[in-house]
């Protein structure tokens, strides 16, 4: 009887797999493809350097970022003792840039991390349960969407007052709404697939299905989108600091530095744009890395 039931007649495992190929999980495949992309690797390298410098700033920075010197104001690049010159109060530019990275990069990454957690939770719940739950969550999100992001950030920061934490909060709110939408739409797509129905049919509870089936499929979409927002967050945070709604001086922060160097733009233009260049490099690297991540995630092994 078994002979006519055609056991799936595949040759044994040794022949089936191409020689040298080991079984990869999805994330291992993503990592492997990402590591083969030169642009992503270069950007990742630069970012790692920046972040490491920021974390180990006390050991990496050559001088004290707060030490002013009226005699050494706006020194150009290459001045003895100041590799990148000094700012308008005579503080070492390189050290301030390194210390500034702490705040600016933090303001880029942390709001996104928070927004991803909260936004995904809302979006997945809205997408999975549909109906009234979906309506309530998404309409509230729509209310937040009614405001342009910069305006919303400025408004919230203004209402909460300046300071690191308030800035973080307002940025997190701005990005949560976008991630909620992306998570909801991704979940709605997955929700109707047969394998989710099959999981329901086996009697699995909703949290079980969300964790076991939905999350594994939407996480790549959400992560790709979230990573593309990091650069926006850096720029937005710098903008808030520029407007005086973020960190207060004399803390080093790239946006703040742009503001305070603004008046010197005709006198020492190179010095004035240096913080802007750092913002640019960080944003571009995050963007390119995010692109690379998306490509790596899309391809099936």
């Amino acid at each position: 009887m078994s002979s006519s039931i055609a056991k799936s007649s595949q040759p044994p495992i040794e022949i089936m797999r191409r020689p040298g190929r080991i079984q990869l999980t999805y994330w291992q495949g993503v990592r492997r493809r990402l590591s083969r992309d030169p642009i992503s690797m270069v950007c990742a390298g630069i970012l790692v350097l920046m972040i490491a410098a920021a974390i180990f700033a006390p050991w990496v920075a050559p001088m004290d970022p707060y030490k002013t010197s009226m005699l050494q104001r706006l020194q150009p690049i290459g001045t003895a003792g100041h590799l990148l010159g000094t700012d308008e109060l005579g503080r070492d530019m390189l050290s301030r840039l390194i210390y500034g990275g702490r705040v600016s990069l933090l303001m880029g990454l942390l709001p996104i991390a928070i927004a991803t957690l909260i936004g995904s939770a809302f979006g997945i719940v809205a997408g999975f349960f549909g109906g009234k739950t979906n309506m309530v969550i998404m309409r509230i999100t729509d209310v937040f969407f009614a405001f342009p992001s910069v305006l919303l950030a400025v408004g919230l920061a203004g209402a909460l007052g300046a300071g690191l934490v308030n800035c973080l909060v307002s940025l997190a709110v701005v990005f949560t709404r976008a991630i909620t939408r992306v998570a909801e739409s991704a979940t709605t797509q997955i929700r109707n697939h047969d394998f989710v129905e099959a999981a329901r049919a086996t009697g699995a509870s909703a949290p079980r299905i969300i964790v076991g089936h939905v999350l594994t499929n939407v996480s790549s979409l959400i992560l790709t989108y979230a990573s593309s927002l990091i650069s926006v967050s850096i720029v937005l945070a710098s903008g808030l600091s520029f407007l005086g709604l973020g960190i207060a001086p004399p803390t080093a922060d790239w946006g703040l530095m742009l503001n305070s160097l603004r008046q010197s733009i005709f006198i020492a233009p190179v010095n004035a744009v240096m913080p802007g260049i750092m913002i640019l490099i960080a944003s571009v690297c995050f963007n390119l890395l995010s692109d690379g991540l998306r490509t790596a995630m899309e391809v099936k092994p």
Binding site: S4, A6, S8, S9
Partner: protein
């Protein structure tokens, strides 16, 4: 190389379509995938050829290669003569002149094959205006004639309908009308009834048969369904892994199949006579085109395999007039 088959009038006429050594390769990320290899056939006016095979057999790719409707990653090689025109030598303008006029195609899913923002009347009229140079109002009259030809009820009202407003069967008829608008000599049909319900499918198949008779077109049908082949085909070419494995008239192939794949296909098709038994399926699965075995592509699944099958690809041999098969064992008298 088969001689030109006589047309239905039994008078030798030059074939409308003459295909020799057609092969299609896809280039994906540096590697080449051979989708179709060494396809030869001829088709006369009024004849219907069915390309029969399962998924991955290369039948759709073959058909699309005839009018070079393939993505840029595809490389077509070979010789295609259509009504005296060398299709491989045409430039973009030449291709555009041929498509829609000499040869037309109908697709499996009319909803995606027609533009959703234009009414079917305007889509048909647009084709007529573009190819035949008629005025728009004359083209609309022709569109109405065509809708009547494909037996769409209330045709005048339907001229102004959008594709999504029509039911599946009506949409398919509209697509057929669109394809016939410039009186093509060759009609290519890519699984046109697969997505339709049974009662509608038979209507469309009979319509196509009737139209083909009336207008004297040559038709190529791509299908995986043996029943469709039995209903519409004069000749059938069974494809497996990009090659023809058996050809002949439909009656000959159904009555006395020679290639083990064809035999297996007939044995595993569920039809009215198979109740209360077990089917005899073909073991294994269709091959992965990127990982083909040396020798005959069907050898891993073949019940009659012998060592020579794994050494090299068998030739397509004409063992009777108009009958070909690609198997070294067909010349044996007994079917072991």
């Amino acid at each position: 190389m088969t001689a030109a088959r006589p047309g239905p009038e039994n008078r030798p006429s030059p074939p409308l379509l003459d295909v020799r050594e057609l092969s299609v390769r896809f280039f994906l990320g540096g590697t080449a995938l051979g989708a179709v290899s060494g396809v030869d056939f001829q088709l006369a006016l009024g004849e219907t050829l069915c390309l029969l095979g399962e998924s991955g057999a290369g039948k759709t790719v073959t058909m699309r290669a005839l009018i070079r409707l393939l993505p840029p990653t595809a490389q077509i090689a070979g010789h295609i003569m259509l009504d005296g025109i060398d299709v491989m030598g045409l430039d973009a303008n030449g291709l555009q002149a041929v498509r829609g006029t000499k040869v037309s195609m109908i697709f499996q899913d009319p909803l995606t094959a027609m533009d959703p923002v234009f009414t079917i009347g305007s889509q048909i009229a647009e084709t007529v205006v573009c190819h035949d140079g008629l005025s728009y109002s004359a083209a609309r009259v022709r569109a109405l004639e065509l809708l009547d030809l494909v037996q769409i009820p209330s045709a005048r009202r339907r001229l102004d309908a959008y594709p999504h407003e029509l039911s599946g069967g009506l949409r398919q008829r509209a697509m057929i009308a669109l394809a016939l608008s410039c009186r093509p000599k060759l009609l290519l049909a890519d699984e046109p009834t697969t997505a339709l319900d049974a009662t509608v499918q038979i209507q469309i198949l009979l319509l196509l048969r009737e139209l083909q008779r009336e207008l004297g077109m040559a038709t190529i049908f791509v299908t995986h369904d043996l029943g469709v082949a039995c209903e519409v085909a004069d000749r059938v070419a069974v494809m497996y892994a990009g090659r023809f494995v058996e050809t002949g008239t439909i009656t000959e192939v159904i009555d006395s199949p020679r290639h083990p794949y064809t035999i297996g296909l007939l044995g595993s098709t569920v039809h009215a006579g198979t109740h209360n038994g077990l089917l005899t399926p073909i073991p294994g699965a269709p091959p992965d085109l990127s990982d083909m075995p040396p020798g005959c592509a069907f050898a891993p699944r073949c019940p009659r395999v012998v060592p020579v099958c794994n050494e090299r690809m068998p030739e397509l041999v004409e063992f009777e007039a108009g009958r070909q098969a690609r198997c070294p064992r067909i010349t044996e008298t007994e079917i072991a």
